[in-house]
């Protein structure tokens, strides 16, 4: 059994043995292959991996936003405060989306509906989720915009999304997502589409709001720099599996899994100069229509052994709270 236990610490979210397939014309894409992790209150937990490794799918599954068909959650549990979100009816799910669990997306440019004013969309969300009058919702919205430091909030309420810059839009999206005081914020690549300076502002803003509001964050990213600045713990995903999970400091320091090592070696380091080529991981992400047998990373792994081709490795606890899915450490 793959279980990632974090002892007695209270758990806000527990994803347990999640399996998700996509049924396409070409065949069944086995996108998520037994993913498990916990998120504690007040922590930022990062899911890291290349495009297509399943991190966004996992995040969407928590809010049950996976389009079905073609997607199908084949098994597992998503326990939020002990309630299995995969078992409740769709109507009850509305009590979680936007209220207890919020989500923001990668593209701030397209996350807001272009034909309604920012105020309209904020007020709509707040009035609906908090069951307050439009006037109250308006006041809450104003406060939220001020909180994310949108200048001249009152005026901003009457503007349309296209009248704001990318960074401002992401702030507005964050304001909208946090307006109902969720206990969990899922941030899917929140800074990827932004300029570096704006990225830093958004990261600082999210860190600050998290501290003040006590919201846990599930951070989805491929950017290890963002991980370093934001997260307490990290799970590295590869082809639908979590291959390494632990605190950010340990992962950055030790990197047990060959894939994690490859990921870190692919980061350019300032001062090394242009002479040294960046190391890349040989090969490419496997087609999950036909995932490799055994360890899904074995075709690209520099340390591949016979057993890797036959048997899927279990998650092994190498240090307390630090897990690796690799036959090297058996």
């Amino acid at each position: 059994m793959d279980t990632v236990s974090t002892g007695d610490i209270e758990k806000l979210l527990r994803v347990n043995e999640l399996y998700i397939n996509f049924y396409t014309y070409e065949g069944v894409v086995k996108a998520i292959d037994g993913v498990s992790f916990d998120i504690h209150p007040n922590e930022t937990f990062a899911l890291v991996g290349e495009t297509g490794c399943g991190k966004s799918v996992t995040a969407r599954a928590i809010l049950r936003l996976i389009p079905t068909p073609p997607g199908k959650i084949e098994g597992g549990e998503i326990l939020f405060n002990g309630v299995d979100l995969l078992k409740i009816p769709e109507k009850e799910m509305l009590e979680y989306r936007g209220k207890k669990i919020s989500m923001i997306f990668q593209e701030p440019m397209t996350s807001l509906n272009p034909v309604f004013t920012v105020g309209d969309q904020l007020v709509e969300t707040i009035a609906l989720n908090q069951k307050v009058s439009k006037e109250e919702a308006y006041n809450i919205a104003l406060k939220m915009l001020e909180r994310v430091r949108i200048p001249d909030a009152e005026n901003a309420m009457t503007k349309y999304p296209h009248e704001f810059s990318g960074g401002q839009r992401q702030r507005i999206v964050i304001a909208m997502a946090l307006s109902c005081n969720p206990s969990l914020l899922i941030a899917d690549e929140p800074t990827t589409a932004l300029d570096v300076t704006v990225q830093a502002q958004i990261i600082n803003l999210m860190n600050e709001l998290q501290k003040n509001m006590g919201t846990s964050i599930l951070l989805i990213t491929h950017d290890l720099g963002v991980v370093a600045e934001m997260s307490d713990r990290v799970a590295v995903m590869y082809a639908g599996n979590i291959v390494e999970l632990g605190t950010t400091s340990v992962i950055f320091e030790k990197r047990y899994h060959p894939y994690t090592q490859g990921l870190f070696n692919a980061i350019p380091v300032f001062g090394k100069g242009k002479q040294t080529r960046l190391e890349e991981i040989p090969g490419s992400v496997p087609n999950l229509l036909y995932p490799p047998p055994g360890c899904r990373f074995h075709p690209r792994c520099p340390h591949v052994m016979d057993i890797c081709r036959k048997e899927k490795p279990e998650l092994i606890e190498l240090e307390p709270g630090h897990y690796v899915r690799c036959h090297l450490y058996r």
């Binding site: 936007g98 997306f105 807001l112 034909v115 969300t125 609906l128 349309y160 296209h162 109902c180």
Partner: protein, 342 residues
């Protein structure tokens, strides 16, 4: 630029448009190798001096460019001339026939919207379901069926076999119309009857409108349904729709508020274009249903070489196209704030 000056500018631009239309229609109609004066005087049996008199009256002996100048100078004075065929001022004829078509067209376009948009939305959110497939069949038959045939079949089934509507001929039961003091202000019976509180006339006119209205609406409803479906499918894949769901909005708000408004932009174009097209092209429906509208009137003017009426009708239809296009552009900017008048 603000809305008022935008509208003013567009209306000014309409003047050369309409002039261009009159120029083309004027010259094409006047170069036909037939003698209009002879036709108007009654054909081959007409006395030559009578024919000559008509020629004088309508300046047919002048060179064609001079005829056009005379036409234009009358036009700027608001004079469309007198129809040599009906003997009435053209403007009076238009006042009689145009509202009938306008009423029919507005009714048809409203029907097309009411049928087309919900069907389009439904088939988009239930893509590849039986609903979607039946809508596709409905739409396909809509734009492949000849209008006159549809009109005849509807008459046969709904009137003759089922007896659900009154005698399909004209706009209102002549009994109702003649035996009562029914006044016409706009000459659109639905409106006139409501103004006078005459609900008997209203329902009678409505019953007369249903079959021709549906006949005219069907093809447009089909196009609107398909257009709405494809733009809905496009819109519901957008990030802001997923974010709207993630914000906890119920599905009906997501679809009918957030998706539909965005999906309406292409649909508005289709509705606008169809409106002009329906207005000018209602002639088949009008013919099948004996509807005394501008379409039939215009066909008559062509057959009798009734130049003044032909030009009057042409200007009217060009004007309607210009206005509808302007309305569509204004509507765009209302639906989508990113579009600015420029």
């Amino acid at each position: 630029m603000d809305l008022k000056s935008y509208i003013a500018r567009r209306l000014l631009l309409a003047i050369p448009t309409i002039l261009g239309v009159t120029l083309i229609v004027f010259f094409i109609s006047h170069v036909v190798p037939a003698d209009p004066a002879l036709v108007w005087a009654g054909g081959a049996r007409a006395r030559p001096e009578q024919v000559e008199q008509i020629r004088q009256l309508y300046h047919l002996n002048e060179p064609i460019w001079k005829q056009y100048v005379i036409f234009l100078s009358d036009l700027v004075r608001g004079d469309l001339g007198i129809s040599p065929v009906t003997g009435r001022p053209v403007i009076e004829d238009i006042k009689t026939y145009f509202p009938a078509t306008l009423e029919l067209t507005i009714f048809a376009i409203a029907l097309a919207i009411l049928i087309g948009i919900p069907l389009g939305v439904l088939s988009a959110i239930k893509k590849d379901s039986p609903v979607d497939h039946s809508t596709r069949i409905f739409a396909l038959s809509g734009y492949s069926m000849p209008i006159f045939w549809l009109g005849l079949i509807l008459q046969l089934v709904v009137y003759y076999y089922l007896g659900l509507v009154p005698d399909p001929g004209g706009r209102v039961n002549t009994q109702v119309y003649i035996s009562s003091e029914f006044k016409t202000y706009t000459n659109m019976y639905l409106i006139d009857s409501l103004i006078q509180g005459r609900f008997d006339v209203f329902f009678d006119a409505l019953q007369h409108l249903i079959l021709p209205g549906f006949t005219l609406a069907y093809a447009t409803a089909a196009i609107i349904a398909r257009m709405t479906r494809s733009s809905m499918l496009e819109v519901i894949r957008q990030d802001y729709i997923e974010f709207a769901r993630a914000r906890g909005l119920p599905e009906r708000v997501v679809i009918y508020k957030h998706a539909l408004r965005n999906a309406m932009i292409p649909t508005v174009t289709v509705v606008g274009l169809s409106f002009g097209g329906l207005l000018a092209g209602a002639v088949l429906t009008e013919t099948v249903f004996y509807w005394p509208g501008i379409g039939r009137y215009m066909v008559g003017t062509i057959n009798t070489l009734d130049f003044p009426a032909l030009m009057g009708g042409t200007i009217l239809i060009a004007l309607v196209f210009v206005i509808v296009n302007l309305l569509v552009d204004i509507l765009y900017a209302i639906i989508d704030p990113r579009i600015r008048y420029g």
